[in-house]
């Protein structure tokens, strides 16, 4: 099982996602914005994956910026984005290479499939 940092500014949505991830046996770290996310990433703790909303509070592409900095801190980190907005080419151009985006509203099964794919051994 993995340690997953969940970054989501809506408390209810974050806790539901965390509830599901815990249910599947993962460990969870939480943050509600870019700064909190970076604080978690800078602590000396093991983190396998980042699951972040893109629109974080007032930062329209905050999740993209967070993931970019996260990879520079931890190059092996796996990243899964989520957003309620349409995924534009401009947004895609900011994605860390090889990552995916889960569109809201996502169901439990969709999140599970995405996380399994995210954590699958890379060839």
């Amino acid at each position: 099982m993995a340690v997953i940092l969940v970054v989501e500014d809506d408390v209810f949505i974050r806790e539901i996602a965390e509830f599901m991830l815990l249910d599947w046996g993962h460990e969870i770290l939480s943050a509600s914005d870019v700064d909190e996310g970076l604080q978690q990433l800078r602590r000396p703790q093991h983190i396998d994956a980042l699951f972040t909303d893109i629109y974080l509070k007032s930062a329209v592409l905050g999740g993209c910026e967070l993931a970019r900095q996260a990879i520079s801190l931890r190059p092996e980190l796996r990243v899964l984005y989520t957003t309620g907005n349409a995924i534009t080419d401009a947004m895609k151009s900011m994605f860390v290479a090889g990552t995916e985006c889960l569109r809201k509203p996502y169901s439990e099964r969709q999140l599970q499939n995405s996380v399994e794919h995210l954590l699958a051994p890379q060839s």
Binding site: F19, M20, V60, T83, A86, P105, S107, R109
Partner: protein, 470 residues
Amino acid sequence: MMSDLLPGRNGQRDLDASDIVEIVPSALLILDGNLNIISANGAFYHDFRTSPENTLGRQLYELGSRQWDIPALHGLLEDVIRLGTPLVGFEVAHEFPAVGRRTILLSARKVLRPGDQTGFVVLAFEDVSTERAAREDSRRNWQLTQSIVDTIRDPLVVLEQDMTVVTASKAFLTMFGITQEDARGRRVSELGQHQWDVPALRHLMEKVLPENKPFDSFEIEDDFPNLGRRIFNLNARKITQPGNHSHRMLLVFEDVTDRKQRERDALLLTNEISHRIKNNLQIIVGLIAFEAKQTAAPCVQGYRAMQSRIAAIAQLYDLISQSSRGSTIAVDDYLREIAKTMSSSLLAPGSDITIEVRAAALEIDPDRAVPFGLLVNELATNAIKHAFPGGAGHVILSVRRSGDQVELTVADNGIGMQPKSAAEVPEKRGSDYVAIFVRQLGGTIVPASNREPGTVVTILLPGLLDRRAA
């Protein structure tokens, strides 16, 4: 004639000057020190439609209608005779009785023979009427062009083939705070703070004249002195002046700052609304997931179907915000998004059930898109749930135009319709929804033909096509 007038001192013709004078294409006169005409060449008689009788022996100023009797010319010719100062290009415009209006350039030079200090004056007449008329036409055309250029509200410049500015409109000069003199002769890339010095723009501009390849809406956003941050769309095309074989380029600078700002504000608002709606839908989907966890297994499918319906509605918001044509909905994109969401929410990873979309490029009425999407969702959900007890099969969602109607077909290669039993009553809800959505859309379910294997449901939907696109 000339040989008679330019004799050698020993009386012999040591220079056949008449031959030389005759082959000169311009009209020539040979004058003595009193400006009396000693000789004229054939070109003179031809150009001015005159004769030796009306020319030879007469003073220059008495010729014709005294057209050469010009005070300014008097002094200049005096200088030729007395001082030997050549006269070059003295312009005379006159209405000649026989040949009409002409513009003539007069040039004169004193010719001395060895030992003869009196000398002669050779006076040449160059007819530049055609060139002057062309120049005047060109000037008038250019004045017209400039006046048109100045009436256009968008700033623009006219460029030579080497990309230097020939002229700039008043709007351009005013907007960028420069004078015509500042702009003229400079390359566009050198103007201002070099905002237009962009390789991609240069590349496009270099093709406008040689390849007659205009371009539109090349966007440049930059900070401009006294203007602040502005966005311009640049458009360029080749222009040809009437009667002139040279080509120039018209480069128009359309200030789209306000429009772009409105578009950006609208996009921000759309994103903000979409973000909030999707988060609210996510909360509902999460609540359903919670309920599903505490519910007996037979009900879980119902909860999943509910999540899928919510997702179908959510797809619509994405398509609307992505659409560049306002709120028009492209049915093929819409169906593909629904199919993708259904696959990920209803089918397990590695499932042998596949969903295929075969949709014509049709635009549908956005007011009817939600019930249409939910109808497709219900029919496809029913197929996935009931048609493949073996866990493998193929579902095809197809849409095509049939006259003014849209024909929706959901087909599968499963076990076909089974007689309903009492135990299946809860599952009937999906079919009920189908009937409701068909009624809402004013559609008709086409009776199924006997087709084996599988089930085919075809529905004709009038009024679904977007009226603006139809």
